[in-house]
Symmetry: C2
Subunit: 420 residues, 2 copies
Amino acid sequence: MTGSTHYEALTPETLADRLVGIEAIAARVGADAGTWRVMEVGDGNLNLVFIVGGPAGTVIVKQALPYVRLVGDSWPLPLKRAFFEYQVLTREAARDPGSVPEVYHFDEAQALIVMEFLAPHVILRKKLIAGETVAGLAETLGNFCARTAFRGSDLAMATAEKKADTAMFQGNVELMAITENLVFTDPYFDAERNHHTEGLDPVVATLRADVEMKAQVQHMLMAFTANTETLCHGDLHSGSAMCTDVETKVIDPEFGFYGPMGFDFGMLISNYVMAYFSQPGHRGAEDLAAYQDWILGVIEDTVAAFEAEFTQLWNTERTGILYPKALFEDQGQSSETALAGVLRHIWQDAVGIGGIEMHRRVLSLAHNADFEQIEDVTVRAPLEARNLMMGRELILRRGEIADARALTDLARKYNEEAFL
Amino acid sequence: MTGSTHYEALTPETLADRLVGIEAIAARVGADAGTWRVMEVGDGNLNLVFIVGGPAGTVIVKQALPYVRLVGDSWPLPLKRAFFEYQVLTREAARDPGSVPEVYHFDEAQALIVMEFLAPHVILRKKLIAGETVAGLAETLGNFCARTAFRGSDLAMATAEKKADTAMFQGNVELMAITENLVFTDPYFDAERNHHTEGLDPVVATLRADVEMKAQVQHMLMAFTANTETLCHGDLHSGSAMCTDVETKVIDPEFGFYGPMGFDFGMLISNYVMAYFSQPGHRGAEDLAAYQDWILGVIEDTVAAFEAEFTQLWNTERTGILYPKALFEDQGQSSETALAGVLRHIWQDAVGIGGIEMHRRVLSLAHNADFEQIEDVTVRAPLEARNLMMGRELILRRGEIADARALTDLARKYNEEAFL
């Protein structure tokens, strides 16, 4: 099917016949398609994902569907998102080698990517719900955020190349629209696709009555849609990382877009905060506090890793048009003030985006399993309420929450409060 | 020559023969090219400009050169800037009807635009040097800035259309690079193309020693190069407006780019400030104070017109993805807080960009005639020093200078000071 221009969704039954000719698969799975074992395992919101195993090994085949899987064909979504996912994967691999699955083959017409099968990795969110730790998690993802943010920006890239790439990614408009709607807008009015846990109505009313907060959210939306600072992953939550106990990989960048350098970083951190708040629904007192402490430690260490790596890149790879050495080092001056300003700007955006993510994951269409798997709504609702109210404070006070410790302190404070 | 794909620069001698077949010219000038009078009048930095007159009337023929006219063919510049100029002119005409010369014909291969001849208009900067007033100036350009900023942004446009347009304008990379270099960077180090008035060295040293200020300038450069909020004119100084005593038109948008909503607005205001500071070099005490007052009044009225028009559009044309009514008015809430935040953001960017423009026009390649025409450097230098020092304060305190009056008060204060 390689090179065929007629898109057709794969099934476990048709996959072997259709992909047998692809050398990248044959070489890694086995040339005889009769020996292939195919399993559809997609549990995300958008795509088909197949594990294809055989005598020589195993690969992943990911194929976009022409609609949102979570909703069905009433919500069409263009296949070209696979093209953007492929483009982001190659850039992430270049900017942070080893951070993403290796891509073996891409077929644009079939919206299909064949890539490395990660085993025994599991989705990070599942590990956070299960109370499992991952060694090196903070460093890996803090470095990933710093390297992709820095190396994809005008701090490092030739600006003509960066502008050409920015132009191309403006085409990922439908995926950006999902974020613009589901993340930045739907939580704050009675949108059709919203749903939330019974009992949360008073908190929802508080958020929707807060005109200043909604204005701040929309200021952040303007930054999301217009501030093309770097190529973002676009969906970097704990469902987009796969981990063993000692290794972490980033997957699923089809929402890739040029946006604020703090976007991925903020979304990631806020998903840790949600994991933190949800813990009382998943484990008993004997190990609750220790595991919650571990999560907050991951946040602090992620921020520390990000800042250390960003600073390192600032000092060694600042070859773009921004903050040129001609204005600082070459005049015998330090650029530390400028770097501090950039880090403050990134952090402020990250905190604001994090607060918004904490709202949409409880109020909009796509909820987090962290909360969703707490079956008893009388347990779940108060935990979600803490999360919503802290999200509000992050949005409103994103200019004042100075550092990671201020953020984790805030989480500890909200973790003690009752809003229902 | 229409449709010819081989570019060739026009001359007054060849123009009639080469353009005789263009119906848009023939209809407005006369069908017999033998009757045409052709005069090259380009006094800008980049292009050829011809006035073509005949029995039926007069048109302007503007043609890009493949290099920077001010510098020569050692500095190549792509012809496609004429394409972007044409694209911006059509959008400005749609967003603020009557604000720009009517375009009669565009030839992409020849990088040539045939447009309305404005008479008896003269360049606004010349009027400001001559001490002449223009009725309605503030309202026309304040409205222009508000209408183009608002209607070219995600406040008004369908976001898919806006992103497609943003992608296209990323191609105007060489013109953006001129701004990135000459405006945001060169003034702050010993760049080859810099020159400044004798006697200014101590002030230049003060600026280059100010690491905090240079960091702020580079933060603004990041916004220039990445914050694609709206389609900007890109070069809206007093040399890009043509006026009679009662009418104002905007010309020369080849620097058009998607950037901060405050960009054009800030550049415009800062050129008025420079006109203000330069006045003691152009007239005697008998009418100096009155004319300086008039200029500062134009600034205040421009800001007032901008804010009034922007507010009107906010209330009547807010159809984009940003600040949707679903989040405010439809919930029985006012969006005034959000609007105030947007206006504050625009103003803050405008003030910062204005300060940078005030530096580059005295230190970088392209100086302002306002100062340059003051032949006595012992008169000119102290006036430029005031301008440079106020520019620094605008950059450093752009978050604190609350409104137009605070800015004009600052200008009055600096106008009394001696820095040399």
